[in-house]
């Protein structure tokens, strides 16, 4: 009877507890949207357009965030996503210009491409991604490099390689070395734009279903979670961890390559020195905000999707709120959200809220740092009276935090 009671209990409170993270993210996302719509009419006046835009950018981030999340769940880390995006975008565009018909001035014409060229370009790019993933797996499982080091080498090396390869490809296709490849093809450009805005979104959802099945319904998925949770125990349970790692790192590079192809189509130009710069951290941020633990073994597909959505909604909201140069704020938003999300998870699991946040000299120092940051950000985002606004905001935060720090010291003394 007692066991039946317990299972009933699990069924009742289980849903909320099990999807606590997802529900929290959904609520937070809506809250950000509602607050933003007070400051900016865009959401109210043009909801359709905004939904399209947010979904598109979320999908592009979400696709390679799946890869990052798979590796994190498997207990590793992949820093190469941005470089893989740049390399794949370059390769995709490069294969097209190499295969495209040439005009009378011996330049490739990309305006009207046969389907086989595009299919070859996609297949070649995905194959290259599998090779990169296999290389990572070899470095990690056979050479026994830490995943951080192996993929960090790719992060810098692969982008550099792409920059050299693009010169060589264009010297063959265009007769002279260039640092970018531009595709002038209506069909490709429509991917992610106007009529084709849904294409990345559909690909994202399709990958989500596939990854969800893999992670939560198959033997391989269970083994990935097991390996991420306790690699030694997994190996000693007869799980072939080397193969699993190969799979995880290949999923990571393949999703990054898909994203690379989509970015190149959307922008129309492959520029390996700029494409995907820093995106590996956005992907890791989306995974972590979505509830993956960097220690491994924890994370869900829906969580990662909502993590990516939340990240993009907050970035969009900041862009809407600050009309001038909104792109400048993206890094700050991602940085702050990662700290908040991880700190929130950390504090929730321990009895952390009651412990002092500003003890000792480091505490006082950080009271100052946080106030200074608040003042600085307020100042630079104000359109006029930058100094005054900055000082007011910084001063207010300083008073508040000092109050908290003093309260903590009084409580400590008791």
């Amino acid at each position: 009877m007692s066991s039946a009671d317990a299972s009933l209990n699990l069924a009742g409170g289980g849903f909320l507890r099990r999807y606590r993270n997802e529900i929290g993210l959904l609520i937070a996302t809506f809250a950000v949207i509602i607050v933003t719509s007070f400051f900016n009419e865009s959401y109210v006046e043009r909801p359709g357009e905004n939904v399209q835009k947010i979904l598109r950018v979320t999908a592009l981030l979400g696709i390679f965030a799946f890869g990052a999340a798979t590796v994190i769940i498997a207990g590793g880390i992949d820093l190469s996503a941005g470089a893989v995006i740049a390399f794949s975008g370059m390769l995709f565009a490069g294969i097209i210009v190499l295969l495209a018909p040439q005009n009378d001035r011996k330049l490739p014409v990309t305006s009207d491409l046969d389907a086989w060229i595009i299919v070859t370009a996609i297949a070649g790019t995905l194959l290259a991604a599998l090779l990169i993933g296999s290389f990572h797996a070899w470095l990690i499982t056979i050479v026994r490099l830490p995943p951080f080091v192996a993929t960090l080498a790719s992060l810098v090396g692969l982008r550099s390689l792409a920059k050299v390869v693009v010169q060589n490809i264009t010297s063959v296709s265009h007769g002279q070395g260039k640092s970018t490849i531009t595709l002038d093809n209506e069909a490709l450009l429509s991917v992610g734009q106007r009529g084709g805005w849904w294409i990345p979104v559909v690909i994202w959802f399709a990958l989500a279903v596939a990854l969800w099945i893999l992670l939560s319904r198959t033997v391989i998925g269970r083994h990935l979670y097991a390996m991420g949770g306790n690699e030694q125990a997994a190996r000693l349970s007869g799980i072939q961890t080397e193969k699993l790692k190969w799979l995880a790192y290949c999923i990571s590079t393949t999703t990054a390559a898909i994203a690379g192809i989509l970015y190149t189509c959307y922008i129309g130009t492959a520029d390996p020195s700029r494409d995907g710069m820093g995106y590996e951290l956005n992907a890791i941020a989306a995974s972590v905000v979505g509830g993956c633990s960097l220690a491994g073994g924890v994370g869900t597909v829906t969580g990662v999707m909502l993590g990516a959505l939340f990240l993009r909604v907050v970035i969009d909201s900041v862009e809407k709120s600050f009309a001038s140069r909104p792109d400048l704020f993206e890094g700050q938003v991602v940085g702050a959200l990662v700290i908040l999300a991880v700190a929130f998870n950390e504090l929730r699991s321990t009895s952390g809220w009651r412990r002092p946040f500003f003890p000792g000299v480091l505490g006082w120092l950080n009271v100052g740092i946080l106030s200074g940051l608040a003042g600085l950000i307020t100042g630079v985002t104000s359109s006029e009276d930058k100094l005054r606004n900055g000082l007011i905001a910084g001063g207010c935060v300083l008073v508040l935090l000092m109050f908290k720090a003093v309260l903590e010291r009084i409580a400590e003394r008791k």
Binding site: Y225, G229, R235, S237
Partner: protein, 513 residues
Amino acid sequence: MSDQTSEPLIDFRGVAKRFGGVVALSDVSFNVRQGEFHAICGENGAGKSTLMKILSGVITDYEGQIVLRGTPVAFKRTRDAEEAGISIIHQELNLVEQLSAAANIFLGRELRSPLGLLNDRAMERAAADLFQQLDCQIRPDALVSELRIGDQQLVEIAKAIALKTDVLIMDEPTSALTETEVERLFRVIELLRRQGVTILYISHKMDEVFRLSDRITVLRDGKVVRTLDRAATNPREIAHLMVGREIEAFDLGGGRNAQDVVLQVEHLSLPWPGHARRWRLEDVSFELRRGEVLGIAGLMGAGRTELLECLFGSASAPVQGTIRLDGREVRFRHPSQAKAAGVAMVTEDRKRYGLFTQMTVRENITICTLPDSSTAGVVSGRRERSAATDSIARLGVKTSGPEAAITSLSGGNQQKCIIARWLRTQPRVLLLDDPTRGVDVGAKAELYRLIDELCKTGLGIIVTSSELPELITLCDRVLVLCEGRLTGELGRSELTEQRIMELATLRPALQPA
């Protein structure tokens, strides 16, 4: 000593602690007198370690009050407790392995030269004095990682003395020590007592408790059962109070029927690159029959675990020699091959090498045999659940259900889940590496019965254990290892603790004590 009028050194008054919904301690009240050796006994999970962590400032958030020398204290961190003269030596030692013994003793309170740089020479001299005082020969400049575990413990004790400790808490200090190291530890404890140090000693080994203590406090389920004078009680009574019921004497092994040889090992050697001994295991030969329990005894570092790892394909280096399973030679390079061939292994150190703590009971049980519950790689939830439920029922795992978190189970029940995991692979040979470590007395008995039953179904079982009585209870034969070599084999009729210890210490060049 029996000065009842003097006020107690430490007085626990209604100390209580909860972890989430679990009550670890409730209304614990007893006192410790100045200079006494006070043993604290209880099964695993009784709350002994939690109480000591509160006293030493590791846990700061609890109810109730601790009164030290007549004044209430509330330590905010271990530093506060150390300043009040209370030091703890944890079960897992708290040393930085990459630093020298002297550096560890002075960690956080380093001696400095007038220029403000580290004064290693002065620290080493002071450490040498401390070791002298403890009558032990440890080089102060030796790295801790190079010291034997018993010596490492003495470094911790030296550290405690350097802190002018007058209350020393020791949490199961002998669990990893050899006989000689235990003797030396007891001599050191005797020395400390003569200097007036009060000792709080956590253990469930009755011989140690009765040898040393003045008074014994028994904890059960987070409550104090009673505090007794040693002279007025006996081991049987303490054991009874710990468990809350009489422990039945065991007589297993009846009705067993050893059949044909299932596993044959010849001249097995495991190299140890870069080590003076060169071999972790050297020229080990034995056989295992169906339906028998074979024990492997030996001190720590004798090669018990390594021997099982060789049989399971998880050894650290390529194995030499031949292993035959049902007459066919096998050479496992990965545990997955051993699993497929019908060899199963329940590893020691459940938490590090066995459990998936983020997973449920069900997931922990089915992890090795998930393909059995799936079609084309896709797991059938229904089949998996019924497999787990079946195992839970068969092994009598106490859990609220297959979906409970594995961490909500007691040590013994977690161990049953791991055994269940491997039984589902339908093995021919079951390797159990110290299966009852961290399992309380009652659950131990259940595991013994389970092992006996499995043996009677025709499984060949190899058990290692750090507790000799366990091997004597369980095994039909015991192999004894000493420093990687097989030094003897004892049949059931010859099994005594003394005989095993003799063989386990049978070193070629043993210096006289």
